[in-house]
Amino acid sequence: MSSSKQALAHPAPGSGAAPGHQPGAARGAGGRGTPPPGPSSWRSRLYRWDMKASPYAFISPFFIIFGAFGLIPLLYTAWYSLHNVQLSSLDHKSWAGLDNYRNLLSSDFFWNALKNTFTIGLISTVPQLLMAIGIAHLLNYRLRGSTVWRVVMLTPYATSVAAATLVFTLLYSWDGGMVNWLLHFVGVDPVNWRESTWGSQFAVSSIVIWRWTGYNALIYLAAMQAIPADLYESAAIDGANRWQQFRHVTIPQLRPTILFTVVVSTIGATQLFGEPLLFGGVSGSKGGSEHQYQTLGLYMYDQGWIIGNLGKASAIAWSMFLILLIVAAINLLFTRRLRKSQ
């Protein structure tokens, strides 16, 4: 007994059995006012109090900070979305009812941003996840220097949205840009990546794809490594070739992971903001001269901090949240369907 206590009490030698020396004791006793009847019961009461309270103490930093900077602002955003709040006169807020939302629903730019968010989300997510599965499959082979390959695939993730977008904007420039220069070798006329709708949306999507494919590949790889080897063995015994094994063993086993990445990518796509902002350069918040790549996130920033209508920006933020919830609900339904059909 004594030796074990010493091991635990090591950094505070001499505290021994005196309860008052324990850090927990000193904190717990302060301000309670009741004189301890005896050392042993005093101590056991303290111990029970410690056992009860400390779990809440340990989780409280998260909930306090999230509450203060996440949850309460979320509710205030809803409140402000019902007000007229201007950046130029922050102290004058006036009730506006549902005006901001009515304003949004009748605004072409809102629907345009919604459509762009959807199309850019689609062309950035689908190829990204497909490529990621392919890369994960290759990384799952026995490779020379497997760690090096993994780190290299993840390097784009180290690049910030801002840095990556600045570089890609230059690569996609109309004349003198690397992409158009490379395209001319295969006989493609220069594409106006800034002005054309599809060109600009593709360019913005390619930044997302570049940054996130390796990350998702690692997530798939982790899931692939958890697939029991005997599944492959029995498939091989049944005469399945490599492709059939991939199709009938790997993919079904990955299904939960695929759904997870789809959900995470969808959330990311709904919030897409930095890439289109910086791709647009000086007038970035407009999302191009024709708003051709203005996403919802960008529209919110434009309305709130460029135009200066924070009430409307709040309404856009809540619309984004509602859209996310609808998407999540669809995902949930879809998952249930899949499970039932199995």
């Binding site: 090591h10 056992m51 490529m131 760690t147 993840l154 180290a158 600045l166 080897a229």
Partner: protein, 301 residues
């Protein structure tokens, strides 16, 4: 209680350092060797991953006029240090790098500490509503940051905190992902007997955390620290609203560069290079751990 009983679980503490013990070992022996075609495809993807970064360095070593010409430069020029200098002084990248180090460093310490405490409570302690609160924590990951920025901006303006670093540090000081990450790790890596043994000896909860939880959690804390630093360094939306070019973080300074603060492309590329360099170095040194952390979080998530 004998000495041997206590030393036994204590000896187990380092065991979790060997990562992912539950993963099947059998897969390793059966893995097929990669053919040459696999290597070819991987080389292509590796080139696509690295080329934009290498080209950033090439462009940063040229001049603005050269970057506007066709064909684009494919090799380094002699202007790198001049451009880096300009970016450092005139585009505020020097201040920005310092600020980002302070911001990301503080956020990392806070997130790792609070996530370990909360992760431990969720993994090993019994308390009312623990599973509900855990679900709630995970649920908060769904909430887009856009939903908080308008009120936060108004409050920070009221407090006259705009352009102060605490504005971007405080809201990001905790992480739902980190809490869940540490919980998943500690569920497996921290033997319950070890906590009980300490309890039997009358150790307070704080003492258990210090002497039992932190040693067991150290490998995961390091990985979470790296991931948090990367995320905090690259955070974009709230910093560009809360700060401006007078007192920028790296991303704010890059945003200013992108919106025409200095209309010289080679300087802009030098800024992008500078802002990415610390994380590239981190990847070079700790790439294996970062990769491990992402894969570990994935299996459990």
């Amino acid at each position: 209680m004998t000495t041997s009983e206590l030393t036994l679980p204590q000896d187990r503490v380092p065991v979790p350092a060997a990562r992912a013990p539950r993963r099947r070992v059998m897969g390793a022996g059966k893995q097929m060797h990669a053919g040459p075609l696999t290597y070819v495809v991987l080389v292509v993807f590796a080139l696509v991953s690295l080329a934009p970064l290498v080209w950033t360095a090439i462009a940063a070593s040229r001049t603005n006029t050269r970057l506007a010409e066709t064909p684009p430069p494919l090799w380094f020029g002699g202007n790198l240090f001049k451009n880096l200098q300009t970016a450092w002084d005139q585009a505020g990248m020097g201040t920005a790098m310092f600020n980002s180090t302070v911001v990301a460093g503080t956020i990392t310490i806070g997130t790792v500490l609070f996530s370990t405490l909360a992760g431990f409570a969720f993994a090993k302690l019994k308390f009312k509503f623990s599973s509900t609160l855990l679900l709630l924590t995970i649920g908060t990951m769904m909430i887009p940051p856009q939903l908080a920025v308008v009120p936060l901006y108004l409050w920070m303006a009221d407090l006259h905190w705009s352009n102060h670093l605490q504005t971007v540090i405080l809201p990001t000081l905790v992480s739902a992902f980190g809490t869940f990450f540490m919980r998943q790790y500690l569920v497996q890596a921290l033997p319950t007997e070890l906590i009980e043994a300490a309890r039997v000896d009358g150790a307070s909860s704080l003492r258990v955390v210090w002497h039992v939880v932190f040693p067991a959690a150290r490998p995961a804390m390091a990985v979470l620290g790296l991931l948090t630093f990367v995320m905090a360094w690259n955070d974009f939306l709230w910093p560009i609203i809360a700060l401006n070019q007078q007192n920028p973080t790296v991303q704010v300074a890059l945003n200013s560069l992108g919106t025409g603060y200095i209309p010289d492309q080679s300087v802009i590329m030098a800024g992008a290079l500078l802002g990415t360099l610390p994380l590239l170095i981190a990847f070079l040194l700790f790439g294996k751990q970062i990769v491990g952390g992402i894969m570990q979080g994935a299996v459990k998530g």
